[in-house]
């Protein structure tokens, strides 16, 4: 099994590639500016995006379903343009077009050989659903339903729903809820299925909200109202165009889903906050199909917080008014290196208390090398260089205006500024063979990273690494390198501010293997955090599961932080799935233990469906 994960795509069969689709939904957003699969935005069902076709092909090739009408339509609507190769390779080093070709071949061969095409019939309920949403926006065709059998999580078993429905208005949603209640049909809401716990799959009906993409800015009130199909990426783009920023988590996550699920958090949460800090109002369809507005006095109090694992969802969020944040034109990103986690913790706490920096996050060498490297192989080489040669096991990412950056400089911390970062990033391939790095390490003996204070180090560093989009692109598959070269000539691809506010790199974390995070809210307490780190590692090692430190972001003036620790597993290996489940259970028990012991630790499962709560209620009650 391990072999399939590590095999490069040109050696994998289409079936193996399809089975490794990470279901991150990143092919639904145009994060590289290369455009998205043409059929997706037209048909909206995930089935018409590369991700859906991967699942469909896996089901067909694995004889789980047979060729249906929709299957032909899905296969035919792929024009083999290759855009998904760019996107998927960028994130996961995968080349889905091989699967798309195989899907088309499979269907064509099946038809040529006189195979019977399975026709789906509208049953009573489907007919009723279609009356509400229209003929094109509901289906029970297996080729559609099977593509909703997965979400990102692989620790929950896939489930094929009976129907998939795509409403376009809150009234339609209300009618659907009433219809499902009346007919005792389970329904599950689906954003982009990016939650990490398998909450967007179920039997019964799936309500996919991806048609509801309206965005309305109300600039004088510093808010933007989105309907529930809007992704973080698309909204950030619109906001940026108008000179604002929103607090966005994963780019493919739908904002309403994200708030609904556990609340938006990102490195910008240091100043923009979490949970209720991120929105001004929201509208819902409740479980009976009635509409309510969060600002009404009679509405359920979603601002409160209850320490309950897996609390019930309050209903379907049909719009949210998201807060807009001002942006200044002197914002910059820097990377501050640290030899120990404790020193990095002291630093972020200090910055956070003193209101220095807009976004702060500690990342380990695994994270940073994974994010920066275009391939898995390079990521592991670069990780070693960071740790062994540059003596940088920890980095703090800071986004701030010129005053913040100046303060950090005055505090005496050497850092990689935007220019050095760009050289480092686009010069990564040279770093692998740079002998002068040994000297840099010795130079740090006296004062760690003091070379960063040498005025012209940046120039010499640039001379030594000869960074360029071309150099960087030499690391990727030959056919894709011209595209990558062009892509990396775009200023934003090496701009720390842009990279942080769009977060397009973070899905690379699952490139080597899919991951399951343990997420905790806790004080910035070094002993506590080191304890958690050690114990998570021990749990993972006991079960033979790869693991690593994820990130830490301070929140609420340094009074608390968000800590992610990641576990990696192969979701095509049933044995590893069993083991990761065990790891998840033991990690949750560990968090529960500390929660009781300290009274200050909160685990992620206790925040689910409470994303609308006030952070004060979550953190301090």
């Amino acid at each position: 099994m391990q072999d399939i994960v590590n095999k490069s795509d040109d050696k994998k069969t289409p079936y193996e590639i399809a089975r490794n689709c990470r279901h991150y939904a990143m092919c639904k957003i145009d994060f590289l500016g290369s455009g998205v699969c043409d059929s997706g935005p037209e048909k909206h069902f995930v089935s018409f995006y590369p991700q859906g076709r991967m699942i469909l092909y896996e089901a067909l090739a694995g004889n789980k379903i047979s060729v249906t009408e929709k299957c032909i339509e899905i296969a035919d609507s792929c024009n083999l343009c290759g855009k998904c190769d760019y996107q998927c390779y960028f994130l996961n080093e995968m080349r889905p077009t091989k699967v798309m070709e195989a899907l088309k071949n499979h269907v064509q061969t099946y038809i040529k050989n006189g195979g019977k095409i399975k026709l789906s019939k509208d049953d009573f309920l489907l007919a009723e659903i279609k009356k509400i949403v229209g003929e094109n926006w509901a289906s029970n065709d297996e080729a559609i339903t099977v593509t909703y059998s997965h979400d990102l999580s692989a620790i929950s078993d896939p489930k094929v729903p009976d129907y998939v429905v795509m409403p376009n208005t809150k009234e339609e949603i209300s009618s659907l809820v009433k219809l499902f209640n009346k007919n005792k049909i389970t329904y599950t809401i689906r954003g982009n299925g990016q939650n990490l716990l398998g909450f967007a799959i179920n039997e019964g009906a799936i309500i996919d909200l991806n048609r509801m993409k309206t965005i309305e800015f109300d600039e004088k009130n510093w808010l933007v109202k989105v309907r529930p199909g809007v992704t973080a990426f698309d909204l950030q783009k619109q906001a940026q165009k108008r000179g604002y920023r929103i607090n966005a988590s994963e780019p493919a996550a739908l904002l309403c889903a994200n708030i609904m699920c556990s609340g938006i958090m990102s490195t910008f949460s240091t100043t923009y906050g979490i949970n209720a800090d991120n929105f001004i109002n929201a509208e819902f369809v409740d479980h009976s199909g009635s509409l309510f507005d969060l600002n009404e006095i009679s509405s359920p109090n979603l601002y409160s917080y209850k320490n309950l694992e897996h609390k019930d969802s309050p209903g379907i969020c049909v719009s949210a008014s998201i807060r807009l944040h001002p942006v200044t034109d002197d914002e910059k990103g820097i990377l501050v290196p640290f030899e120990t986690l404790n020193n990095a913790l002291d630093f972020i706490k200090d910055c956070s208390i003193r209101h220095i920096g807009l976004a702060l996050g500690i990342v380990g060498a695994e994270y940073i090398s994974t994010f920066l490297s275009p391939t898995k192989k390079m990521a592991s080489e670069i990780k070693n260089i960071f740790v062994d040669k540059l003596n940088i096991p920890w980095l703090v990412v800071v986004i701030g205006d010129k005053y913040a950056i100046r303060s950090i400089s005055e505090m005496g911390f050497p850092f990689f500024d935007q220019n050095l970062f760009k050289s480092l990033y686009l010069g990564l391939p040279s770093l692998k063979t740079a002998q002068w790095l040994d000297l840099v390490k010795e130079l740090s003996d006296d004062e760690p990273y003091s070379y960063l204070k040498v005025k012209s180090f940046a120039e010499l560093f640039e001379t030594a690494l000869s960074p360029s989009p071309r150099l960087y692109s030499q690391e990727v598959d030959k056919e894709l390198s011209p595209f990558f070269e062009k892509l990396f000539s775009h200023q934003e691809m090496t701009d720390l501010v842009w990279l942080n506010m769009y977060r397009i790199m973070s899905t690379r974390l699952g490139r080597k293997k899919p991951f399951l995070p343990a997420l905790i809210y806790l004080p910035i307490d070094k002993d506590l955090i080191n304890d958690f780190t050690d114990k998570f590692r021990l749990i993972a090692e006991k079960h033979g599961i790869d693991n690593d430190f994820g990130f830490i972001t301070p929140i609420d003036n340094g009074k608390r932080c968000i800590f992610e620790y990641d576990f990696f597993y192969d979701y095509n290996d049933p044995d590893e799935i069993q083991r990761i489940r065990q790891v998840a259970m033991e990690s949750n028990m560990l968090i529960d233990d500390y929660s009781v012991k300290t009274g200050t630790v909160k685990g992620h499962p206790y925040v689910l469906y409470q994303g609308f709560c006030r952070k004060e209620n979550l953190l301090y009650s």
């Binding site: 002068w436 040994d438 000297l439 010795e442 003996d445 006296d446 003091s450 001379t463 000869s466």
Partner: protein, 390 residues
């Protein structure tokens, strides 16, 4: 094992540069050596010693060495009681070579712990073993700053260039008092800066003399790469170019505070002189293993230019002018050599009276271009130590 004609020596620091060279020569001379040391992350002490002996070409002498895992910060050196007593009964002399050689003020606590606080264990062992001789490998620079003639006596210096010198001076005084109290004959051996073997160029460590050369070579390579692969735009910006005769012109002005020497000795001299002192000096004493014919950075710079086919290095004695414009190479080089700068132009003179007597007038060689070339070529061959055991 060779017969009991030679004393049994307990040696610390045998995995270091000086200690390993001493060990190798003493083994070849038939000494039995008990090494007190530590395992590395993935290697036992014995494996480390074995690897070193193979490097010296005397792998078969491993039988003559007994390796004892010792922790100098622990009582009884962390050695189990029975073994400790057995060791006490066989050891005749101690050579204490183990040392933390970091100059970094940030590492003060660690350096002081290793070089001063942890002496207690090895001194107690010496007392318990009733040894006759304690040989301490120190440094000529315990003399401290502001002294012009450094005598072969205990240092009373108050100011030092770095924490390493300070710790070694403190250690000498402490050991001296202890040995006096316990009637142990003490010899203190004070080498100046030690480089590789003057004949073969071989070395195990590439700091001190090597560091400025290595830094300059790295900077040279960065610009050579720029010139050959990237059109030399950055090089041109800084007035760097390749001359008609293939030499790289790379302006590198090195400011040293005043005119002075660079006192360096080869490791073969260090070993031979130390063994002579150990064998000849029954009454103990302090010995400067320094060079009466010191070289200068001007000479080294010339050697460097010749070997690396470079021009443009200028050694300037005197204070660096304020607001002086430095090119990136100069700025980085300045930073690289900062910890070593006080040793690059040094006008201290070292008394060698005791040494001359104890070593039958053995002198280190003058640092010639041939020696420089042999040593640097070896360093480059083993990638400044990175591939020494590859």
């Amino acid at each position: 094992m060779a017969g009991k004609t030679k004393p049994v020596i307990a040696l610390t620091g045998a995995t270091g540069f000086l200690g390993s060279h001493l060990m190798a020569t003493m083994l070849a001379k038939g000494y039995s050596i008990i090494v007190f040391g530590r395992p590395a992350k993935n290697e036992s002490l014995k494996e480390r010693i074995s690897r070193l002996l193979k490097w010296f070409g005397i792998g078969s002498f491993l039988d003559q060495v007994k390796c004892i895992d010792a922790d100098f910060s622990q009582d009884n050196l962390g050695i189990e009681n029975g073994e400790y007593s057995r060791l006490c009964s066989v050891v005749d002399s101690v050579i204490h070579c183990a040392s933390d050689t970091s100059f970094s003020e940030n590492k003060r606590e660690k350096v002081m712990a290793a070089n001063v606080n942890n002496l207690k264990g090895i001194l107690e062992f010496s007392k318990n073993a009733h040894i006759s001789f304690f040989h301490y490998i120190s440094t000529a620079y315990v003399a401290g700053t502001g002294v012009s003639f450094c005598k072969e006596i205990l240092s009373s210096a108050k100011s030092f260039t770095n924490v390493y010198e300070e710790s070694k001076a403190a250690a000498e005084n402490l050991i001296s008092m202890f040995c006096q109290k316990n009637s142990i004959t003490l010899s203190i051996i004070r080498p100046s800066i030690v480089y590789g073997d003057s004949q073969s160029g071989r070395s195990l460590k590439f700091n001190a003399l090597y560091f400025p050369i290595r830094s300059a070579q790295s900077i040279r390579d960065i610009y050579l790469n720029d010139l050959s692969n990237n059109g030399g735009i950055k090089a041109a910006k800084n007035g760097i170019y390749i001359d008609n005769d293939g030499y790289l012109f790379l302006p590198l002005k090195i400011y040293l505070p005043y005119e002075g020497d660079l006192n360096i000795i080869p490791v073969d001299y260090f070993v031979n002189a130390t063994i002579k002192i150990i064998e000849n000096c029954s009454q103990g004493g302090i010995y400067h293993l320094t060079n009466n014919l010191p070289t200068t950075m001007k000479i080294v710079a010339k050697y460097y230019e010749q070997l690396m086919k470079v021009r443009g290095v200028e050694i300037i004695y005197g204070p660096q002018p304020d607001n002086l414009l430095r090119n990136p190479a100069e700025e980085l080089f300045d930073r690289f050599i900062e910890p070593y700068r006080p040793y690059l132009s040094d006008n201290r003179v070292f008394d060698r009276t005791n040494t001359i007597l104890a070593t039958d007038n053995l002198n280190p060689p003058k640092f010639t271009y041939e020696i420089f070339k042999t040593c640097m070529e070896y360093a480059i061959k083993v990638n400044w130590g990175a591939s020494i055991f590859a």
